[in-house]
């Protein structure tokens, strides 16, 4: 083979060009900490990484919905606790009021206390969190209970928002898992036409006490059992919903850890390996440079002087 100077320098340049472009690629991986910097680095890997990134974003979003739902649900849980206490105490007052031998004045005293509790029940049932009424169903901006009062300002009747208080609000907290994050007003206090509707019971009890009607007071006592049972069931429901959220959140954590690990395996650079590669490529490049400088210099001219 006939070798010329241009051939030598062309070859040396080709070797240097290749060495340099390999180093540039490795250096980019090391600099960004990513194995895949553009889709062409690994088309299939890039596609997988795109999906895993979206997966992590979806799981993050599920968690955000779960966290957002937790606040109002805790508040609802507290609210149900207060209502339950009030119902229990009202029942005790009813029992006390039904005791024989009480005078009209004593009964009226109890009635005042019952009336106070009625006001409390209405206020608690209209409780809100950050401007959202908790028992209003989807009607979060309208107080769920509205009351009518007599000339003395005493509540004579309470009715639910006519647009409904049972609209469910859901949150997607995991793939295909929608949980209810509120509880309908009628599940808590009963329909406003119900005989065991708590505000109506309290009105009934107060009026019976005020009229010193022992039989009527007695009749109300058993009704309270149904109201208390309903409240207990509502508390269990909200507790169950909160647990479902906790379970989903921890399942999401596991899934997210797995997705992030997979993403890192696909897209992240193995820094130690790449650093070794880089120094190896650098050595090769330097050797090529050296060889080129050695090969290109000599010609007969040097020896003809």
């Amino acid at each position: 083979m006939r070798v010329t100077q241009t051939l030598l320098s062309d070859r040396a340049l080709a070797a240097l060009r290749e060495g340099l472009s390999r180093m540039a690629k490795t250096q980019n991986q090391l600099g960004t900490g990513r194995r895949i910097n553009t889709p062409s680095d690994d088309p299939a890997g890039h596609s997988i990484a795109t999906r895993l990134t979206a997966r992590v974003a979806t799981l993050d979003q599920y968690d955000r919905q779960a966290t957002a739902a937790q606040g109002p649900m805790m508040a609802t849980n507290d609210l149900l606790g207060s209502l339950s206490d009030l119902a229990g105490r009202a029942q005790e007052l009813a029992v006390a009021g039904a005791t024989g031998g009480l005078g009209a004045g004593e009964r009226a005293g109890i009635a005042t206390e019952v009336n106070q509790m009625l006001e409390e029940v209405v206020a608690v049932a209209n409780g809100s969190e950050h401007g959202r009424y908790l028992l209003g169903g989807q009607e979060t901006r309208t107080a769920p209970l509205s009351v009518t009062r007599n000339v003395n300002g005493d509540i004579t009747a309470a009715t639910w928002n006519p647009r409904g208080v049972d609209g469910t609000i859901n949150a997607t907290i995991s793939d295909g898992v929608n949980v209810q994050t509120n509880i309908g007003g009628t599940a808590v206090l009963g329909a406003d036409t119900d005989s065991t509707f708590l505000p109506a019971l309290l009105v009934q009890l107060r009026d019976a006490l005020n009229t010193n009607n022992q039989a009527a007071v007695n009749a109300v006592i058993d009704q309270f059992n149904a109201a208390t049972t309903r409240l207990g069931a509502a508390q269990a429901q909200v507790g169950g919903q909160l647990q479902a959220i906790d379970r989903a959140t921890s399942a999401n954590d596991t899934a997210r850890t797995a997705a992030k690990a997979a993403l890192s395996a696909v897209a992240d650079a193995d820094v130690a390996k790449i650093a070794v590669d880089l120094s190896q490529q650098e050595a090769v490049y330097q050797a090529a440079l050296h060889a080129a400088s050695q090969a290109i210099q000599p010609s007969l001219l040097e020896f003809l002087k």
């Binding site: 062309d10 895949i36 979206a54 974003a57 955000r64 919905q65 009607e139 647009r163 409904g164």
Partner: protein, 548 residues
Amino acid sequence: MGAAQLAQATVGNNAANASTPGYSRRRVNLVEAPSVRLSGGIFGTGVQAANVVRLRNALIDTQRRADSQELNYSQAQSSILEQVDSLLGPTGDSGLGNALNGLFSAFGDLASHPEDAATRQALLGQGQGFADAVRQTRDRLVSMESDGFASVSDRVAEVNSTAQRLADINSQTLAGQPDPSLQDEQDRLVDRLSELIGVRATTRADGTVQVVVDGTGIQLVDGARATALTVSGTPTGGTVSLSVGGATLGNPRGEIGGLLHMRNSSVDGLPAAISKLDTLASGVIAAVNRVHASGSGLTLAQSVTGSVTVSNPAATLATAGLWLTPVAGTLNIGVFDASGNFVSSGSVSVDPSTMSLNGLATALDALPNIDASVSGGKLVISAANAANRIAFGPDGSDSLVALGVNGFFTGTDAASIQVSSTLQATPNLIAAAQANFTAGTISPGDNRNALALAALGTSRILAGGTQTPDEALGAFGADVGTWARSASTRTSTQQALLDAANAQLQQTSGVNIDEGLADMLKYWHAYEASAKYISTVNSMIDSLMGIL
């Protein structure tokens, strides 16, 4: 002595041009001068230079040009694809991917806080972010198209001037003696033409070079005549084509071929990338708007105007050229008063094969408390009583989506996608809720529609119901990545082939300085010997003269 001097000059010229691109080594062919017959026998009369020849191998040239045109073809593709590739960027940070994830996350946030104004505002921001990312990506692709067109035009101008120069040299060759430097110049010009467009060259007996575009019979240069290439097409969109004297040039190679391929190919060129992006964008627009159109906002509008213009409102919806063809189905619509109390509802059964936009407007207009009309090719639906409001229910006919009514996005593809300006002006119109015409309610805390919008992020809504948005985006990236990768692989392969062919050329035509120097010494010695001979003859004559 003259011959030795000529040989020396050629060697000197070789050495001086050792690194001149396209230079071919030359050699002086020395032959014995004609001998004379004298009485004592036949006597040689010395040496003479017969001719100066270029050392060049035509076969290697052909091979090298074939490799160089393919290299330039792949390189042109590769450099454009690298730009497309980097548009999609690294995973995670890629503008499009983040924007897409952000959009569906923001729908989820809306589901958590349907009454909250700040959440609605944030959602609009994310929506606009996605729309901007899509449009910017498309703008970049389109500007690559016009850059490609400009490059093709520049390169074609260069082909024309190179071909003209070659024709000029041909006519010089016809006029005079074969000249190695003109031959080198011819080779260089043909090389350049090969790089630019891919040509086959044949040298005629008279020394002229005939150039044909490779793979066709179309002549660029024939003797002293060069034919000009013309470019037709527009910078963006459509197809750019080349023609020579009226004949269309199919698939040229070389740099121009690579540029044209990227500019025109709907398989792996820029039009393909643009159409994939358009498909992705219109798929997302259709899916999001389909859910949004059937929802209700925190407040309702008295009048709603579609964003899509229909050029012929009298044509049936199936043939009106809509970006998305409606299907047969029922469109539900209701009327509420300003305080959110139910007034009435009704439904229209849409059959796109018989119903025109005008017909749809008439049918809607016939519903109680609703006015509908077509204005400037757009559907306008209003509550008949100015104090009332319009609410949309389920639309099985897709006509709301097709006509751009009550959509989250306006626009129909990657070039036109925008968040509806109506929503931007009144964020409360974002439909997080679904109207209930049976109960006659729309509730502020109702997040069913927002949940349905958020669920689109993980639903197979694209590519005919086979891909989720992130899968579609991943597939887009994988396609572009594969094109870019294979173009760059082809480029390195062709580079290696060309390097090998160049090495072969160098073996024949390259100048080895050592060899040149050795030749120089050789001719120097010959010259010295001749000079010595002359001085010997001279002293012989001197001696003879001394005797006389």
